[in-house]
């Protein structure tokens, strides 16, 4: 039957990197007309496997069949010739060029003299058939993330790809854009293409895929029909054990506050007001969630508290001590930790894991003697933290830049939670963004643990589930202002969702 026709068969794929076996005897098949989810945690080898198929890596062992014929794919050009397209996590587009220019870039068949009219016509036809709203003539920099992704898809369609690989496509999209993408993928499958969806998000797998292959530690552990499996089973396959749900059973925080922010005004990088007269109090031992679509001043607020961004007016009091516009080192010494969203942006990639772990604490008594850094103790502590936080690295002397995203995030967490002597307030900015289930679970566990030990957490997140699960109160931000603060009994997805759009009807005094 045509439906069972294999577009791709990969058998026994092995790919070694220095110190890592990225693919260990991995098997993968793609049928005509299906959306096939490739599921696994960060570092499980999903992207590596697909990069092998796309010719970016050459496997050390194993065979690949495309349309039933054994092939050697040496470069992306070979892959494209075979009708394989790939949309990477980072878009490979030139912002100043038009959509059409980006698409014909690198297509030799387009010839030397471009028939722009014909190309645009063809592109418009495809765009229309998918119900998109981009134009071949618009410049790429004008497009939103979702539209840029459509350009990437359009590129594959224009090249008549029959096999399409998408690497974590929803990581840059809003929920609405993701829905549109899934409709597109279903339509592509219906037209006979085979679509591979690399993801670590289970709801996406359930929502859009026909079959799912789960990878763990470089191996493909199972391939299932999506209709015949469920989330629990997939989690089990992915992380090798069931998920532990955190149910914070916590007493109401003491009524005295540790951090008080009043009438804070902060500018963003463009010099516009990003935080407008924000006032709130953070109680001892409390987790205060900050909800809101990202870009509504959350980042600037946290950076200003940490001393990384200038406060224009207003005050930040830490335990009644004025820390407004104090140097970051003083604020750190007073016990304020900061987990940034992009861990790599705040680490020294060419320095060792151990050195990155003491990035903030190198000057404390614990790790220094007079003018010298006590590297013996640094090494000892680093060993302990690497073990405690499951940081996967060949040694503590490995360069931090060589770690995978999830591991760097763990490193940052270890640094913020364990190396600072008197952590009192922890600012967490999208701490779990882009992380897989097990890493997220870990971070949640540590945040709750720290708050139970008396530290207060200001948790900024876009995931409402995360906020509602962990927070004692949720504060909603919109356009730099606080729309309202809800206490645990008032949580309700719809209310919070409405408030995220600036509706103040349920204003609650904290």
């Amino acid at each position: 039957m045509a439906e069972d026709e294999y577009l791709v068969e990969m058998r026994g794929i092995v790919k070694r990197f220095p110190n890592v076996l990225a693919n260990d005897n991995a098997n993968f098949t793609l049928k005509k007309g299906e959306v096939h989810a490739l599921l696994g945690e960060n570092g499980a080898g999903k992207t590596t496997l697909m990069n092998v198929l796309y010719g970016l890596y050459r496997p050390d062992a194993g065979e690949i069949k495309v349309y039933g014929k054994r092939v050697e794919i040496r470069s992306p050009r070979d892959a494209i010739r075979l009708g394989i397209g790939m949309v990477h996590q980072q878009f490979k587009l030139i912002p100043v060029h038009t959509v059409a220019e980006n698409i014909i870039l690198g297509i030799r068949e387009a010839g030397i003299i471009l028939n722009t009219g014909k190309i645009n016509q063809e592109l418009s036809r495809i765009i229309e058939s998918y119900g998109w709203r981009i134009s071949p003539e618009s410049r790429v920099w004008q497009l939103s993330a979702g539209e840029k992704q459509q350009v990437e898809l359009l590129k594959a369609l224009y090249r008549k790809a029959r096999i399409l690989i998408l690497d974590e496509p929803t990581s840059v999209l809003t929920p609405q854009e993701a829905t549109v993408l899934f409709q597109t993928l279903r339509k592509m499958a219906a037209e006979g293409m085979g679509v591979v969806l690399i993801t670590h998000k289970l709801d996406e797998v359930m929502a859009v895929s026909d079959r799912v292959t789960v990878m763990r530690q470089g191996r493909t552990v199972a391939t299932k029909r999506t209709s015949e499996t469920n989330i629990e089973e997939l989690v089990n396959l992915m992380i090798g054990r069931p998920l532990i749900k955190i149910k914070p059973t916590r007493q109401i925080p003491e009524e005295n506050h540790i951090l008080e922010v009043s009438n804070l005004v902060v500018l963003n990088d463009k010099g516009l007001e990003a935080v407008r007269k924000v006032s709130f109090k953070l109680y001892r031992g409390e987790i205060l969630g900050v909800a809101g679509v990202s870009g509504n001043g959350q980042q600037e607020l946290l950076e200003a508290i940490a001393g990384l961004r200038k406060v224009v007016s207003g005050k930040v009091l830490l335990d009644s001590v004025d820390i407004t516009n104090r140097h970051p080192s003083e604020i750190i010494d007073l016990g304020v930790g900061f987990i940034p969203a992009e861990a790599l942006r705040y680490s020294a990639p060419e320095m060792t894991v151990a050195e990155n772990l003491i990035l903030k604490a190198y000057r404390t008594k614990m790790f220094s003697k007079n003018i010298l850094v006590d590297f013996k103790n640094v090494e000892k502590t680093a060993q302990e933290l690497v073990a405690k936080f499951n940081i996967v690295t060949p040694s503590t002397r490995n360069k931090a830049g060589n770690l995978s995203g999830g591991n760097i995030q763990r490193l940052v967490l270890a640094r913020e939670l364990w190396t600072l002597p008197n952590l009192r307030v922890l600012l967490a900015l999208y701490p779990t963004r882009g992380l897989d289930i097990a890493s997220t679970e870990n971070i949640h566990k540590y945040l709750v643990e720290k708050s139970q030990q008396g530290a207060s957490v200001l948790l900024v997140s876009e995931e409402l589930d995360e906020l509602m699960e962990l927070s004692d109160r949720i504060m909603v931000m919109y356009r730099g202002e606080i729309v309202g603060i809800l206490s645990r009994s008032q949580y309700d997805v719809e209310t919070i969702g409405l408030m995220m759009t600036g509706v103040k009807k349920l204003e609650v005094q904290a």
């Binding site: 220095p18 040496r74 970051p328 080192s329 942006r345 705040y346 050195e355």
Partner: protein, 353 residues
């Protein structure tokens, strides 16, 4: 069949050393071709270069000629580690020469400093002069965010011309038949008056500096701050490092070492101040710092090597009657090959079939 470049994640010391050796051999072959094209025997020329590095007397000379570049390069190792792109080592060398000469003149003309203190005062003054001259653009960077590359580069010319002014004007030797030179330094102001050769004082000094610098960078909290700042300035700010203070301290030391290089020139090599006393030592120091991978220990042998090339250049020029340009071509070939070698240390070539 096609060739593809792949980035190496890590490289063993053995492989790194053998790549360097291979490209040095390649450089010698390429240089031989150049010599043959110029109509001189390459064997003869190379044997003269070989002779420079194997004869104690010329090797000592190579060490000495390498010292100004060596000190400057040590400073640059520190500056570049901080991501402070100091192109101004030459200017800092000139300031060091000026300060050292100034101390000598203060003693000789006015008797302001007791004789045994002249040399220590010269060391201190040249270090401070070079350091402050380097800290100036660092201050601009820290305070106003001015990129350091152009200021440091342009300050080179300021320093060079200022020294010219002094030498053609107030500092000209009254008994020098009108030549633009300072007075000849007296013995107590010269490095070779102690152990018979300036290199006997200078080279151990350079080793000591390298050791201190290495310790500073790798073992101290200040060095830790400098390295973090050099890697990622945002991370440094986030870690609570006082950027301006760290940058100023580092640039003072970096420029100060170049200043010491200047001291070696006037007090150890020429014995007086004259215009153009640094023929671009500060620029070669940049190359040395890079070739040694910003490792102070490696900067020393590298500077001896480049010092040797200068000596060899003199020998070739005088015995084979080649123009100075030929010597420069020879040196440039070596530079190029070494840089090419560095490239292959970072990337591997894969044959893809």
């Amino acid at each position: 069949m096609a060739l593809r470049l792949e980035r190496r994640l890590e490289i063993s010391r053995k492989l790194s050393a053998s790549i360097s050796a291979f490209f040095i051999i390649l450089a010698i072959i390429a240089a031989s071709l150049v010599f043959e094209l110029l109509g001189v025997s390459s064997v003869e020329t190379l044997s003269k270069i070989y002779y420079v590095f194997t004869t104690p007397a010329t090797l000592l000379q190579a060490v000495l000629r390498g010292l100004p570049m060596g000190f400057a390069a040590l400073g640059l190792c520190l500056a570049f580690k901080m991501n402070f792109w100091n192109i101004g080592a030459d200017g800092q060398i000139y300031m060091g020469m000026m300060a050292a000469t100034g101390i000598v003149l203060m003693h000789a003309y006015y008797g302001l400093i007791p004789e045994p203190l002249v040399l220590p005062a010269m060391v201190a003054a040249s270090f401070i002069a070079g350091g402050v001259y380097c800290a100036l653009p660092a201050f601009l960077k820290a305070r106003l965010g001015v990129n350091e590359i152009l200021p440091t580069l342009m300050l080179n010319y300021v320093a060079m011309r200022f020294v010219d002014f002094l030498i053609y004007g107030p500092w000209r030797d009254p008994k020098g038949f009108g030549f633009p030179v300072s007075i000849v330094f007296p013995d107590y102001a010269r490095l070779d008056s102690f152990l018979g050769h300036s290199a006997y004082v200078g080279f151990p000094g350079a080793i000591a500096v390298a050791a201190v610098l290495y310790g500073l960078l790798q073992k101290t909290t200040l060095g830790f701050e400098m390295r973090v700042m050099g890697q990622n300035i945002e991370a440094a700010r986030y870690a609570g490092i006082r950027l301006g203070r760290t940058l100023l301290t580092g640039s003072l030391v970096a420029g100060g070492l170049a200043g010491i290089g200047g001291l070696v020139i006037v007090s150890g090599i020429i014995g007086r101040l004259r215009p153009g006393a640094s023929p671009g030592y500060g620029y070669t120091a940049i190359i040395i710092a890079f070739l040694s991978g910003l490792n102070p220990w490696l900067a020393l042998p590298a500077s001896v090597f480049f010092g040797g090339l200068l000596v060899a250049g003199d020998v070739i020029q005088s015995t084979l009657n080649l123009p100075f340009a030929a010597v420069q071509i020879f040196q440039a070939t070596i530079f190029l090959m070494i840089i090419l070698g560095e490239f292959f240390k970072r990337y591997r070539v894969k044959v893809v079939r």
